[in-house]
């Protein structure tokens, strides 16, 4: 018969960890997406040559493993900038920049997918560049970019497991703490996985719903 030492309090402890995971992910995805839209639009507008410094900066965040970014980011904030900020804040900053680097590419791809003539049609009606972006380009780019963006958001949620290196006790770290104490790794990892699934599933479904709705347009 299956037997476990896991208590209700332990589950609450895991749920708190899951709460941190959700919070870090939500903050990073929101800020990262806003920055990603900004960076993506700048890249498209400036063209490859003028945007090269920005592209290089974003490439760093896409190329260097997140674990290294978190450790170095934490050291940079503490030792170079001499700022006393929490590991949680560092985690959110690094993850936001990491997200923005990927999101900028997704946004750029989405904008490039809007036919030039459709944009010309908008401008020829007297819409300004900003109105064209707001009412035509970004809504259309969003439809193209949504599946990739959902993938990015889910990826960031799972990558957020690495923020334990800056002393943030999120879901996976909470699970590890319990494993150390209870010595039931498989069962606890199963529960941890279930938590991740419960967090991810609504986002994935919501993405699917939007895609279906838009495809009916």
């Amino acid at each position: 018969m299956f037997d476990t030492a896991l208590t209700a309090n332990d589950l609450v402890f895991l749920a708190k960890g899951a709460g941190i995971t959700i919070l870090v992910t939500a903050i990073s995805v929101v800020i990262g997406t806003l920055l990603g839209i900004l960076f993506g639009v700048i890249r498209v507008q400036l063209g490859p040559v003028l945007a090269a410094p920005l592209t290089f900066f974003l490439d760093i965040f896409r190329s260097v493993p997140l674990l290294i970014q978190l450790v170095l980011g934490n050291a940079f904030v503490g030792m170079v900038l001499q700022l006393q900020i929490s590991g949680f804040t560092v985690a959110c900053i690094v993850l936001s920049l990491y997200t923005s680097a990927y999101c900028a590419e997704i946004v750029r791809g989405g904008i490039d997918a809007v036919p030039e003539i459709t944009r010309r049609a908008a401008r020829s009606l007297g819409l300004t560049w900003g109105q064209d972006m707001r009412y035509i380009v970004l809504p259309l780019a969003t439809r193209v970019a949504l599946p990739s963006w959902i993938g990015l958001a889910l990826g960031v949620m799972k990558d957020s497991a690495l923020v334990y290196v800056v002393q943030v006790t999120e879901l996976l770290k909470s699970t590890q703490i319990l494993i150390t104490r209870l010595q039931e790794p498989l069962f606890l990892l199963l529960i941890c996985g279930a938590f991740y699934f419960v967090i991810s599933f609504p986002l994935a479904r919501f993405g699917g719903y939007l895609e279906k709705r838009w495809s009916n347009d």
């Binding site: 010309r120 007297g126 819409l127």
Partner: protein
């Protein structure tokens, strides 16, 4: 009046407009014919400032299109343009496609913009498609929607860039009928087209473009029946 004076335009090393002169009076319908790459479509996009020019001058009712001081967004309200394809904003309904510019550019109230849009959509025969998305329309209906959308801005001039070229043959007629209707109503139009019958029936003047120059311009009867320029003769012999 649209005045085009000695306009030159290059894309890289390729000069696509080699000194074009053309004046289009209010109420006039000018069609532009010619082979691919003759510069016809580029001229239209230069007229409403979507493309810069290298030299020369284009003025619309006295306003120089490419002058630094010209507010192009304001000028474009006067000059509607419809392209060959990809005109529709696919995420907006037909009605929203047509009301967008009146609301955002002219600052019209929603109800007023919708009333104008409905009127224009009925005018082009799409009165029953208001809540439909463009993907549910045929190519011809999409082009008529684009025409209604341009008309909703009450333009003084309309530019048509091969608006039937991307359509299935059976859909060409409905779009040409719409253009004819506009011409009969007195709209000033410049139409780049491959439809010779349309050019002959509707135009006050027909211009033939060849490799970036306007080789010949004249009344339809003269140009089609008695073309003077050897390239015009060759072109017409091939399309007949």
């Amino acid at each position: 009046m649209i005045e085009i004076q000695n306009v030159r335009k290059s894309f890289g090393d390729l000069e696509v407009l080699k000194g074009i002169d053309l004046t289009v009076q209010k109420g006039e319908v000018v069609t532009v014919i010619g082979g691919s790459g003759s510069g016809k479509s580029t001229l239209l996009t230069c007229i409403n400032g979507l493309e810069p020019i290298d030299s020369g001058r284009i003025t619309i009712d006295g306003t120089e299109v490419h002058a630094k001081s010209t507010n192009l967004n304001k000028l474009r309200r006067k000059v509607g343009i419809v392209f060959q394809q990809w005109n529709a904003f696919p995420h907006l309904t037909v009605l929203e496609n047509v009301t967008l510019a009146p609301r955002k550019v002219l600052g019209m109230a929603k109800a007023e913009a919708e009333a104008i849009a409905e009127k224009q959509l009925r005018h082009v025969g799409l009165g029953d498609k208001l809540t439909t998305y463009p993907s549910r329309l045929s190519g011809g209906q999409q082009q008529r929607m684009a025409i209604a959308r341009a008309l909703a801005m009450s333009p003084d001039y309309m530019l048509f860039d091969e608006v039937t070229s991307a359509l299935d043959p059976q859909l060409v007629g409905e779009v040409l009928e719409t253009l004819k209707m506009l011409a009969e109503e007195g709209m000033t139009m410049i139409c780049v087209t491959h439809e010779m019958g349309f050019a002959r029936d509707v135009s006050n003047r027909v211009a033939f473009f060849h490799q970036g120059i306007m080789a010949e311009i004249g009344a339809p009867d003269q140009l089609f029946n008695d073309p003077q320029h050897p390239e015009t003769q060759k072109f017409l012999a091939n399309v007949r």
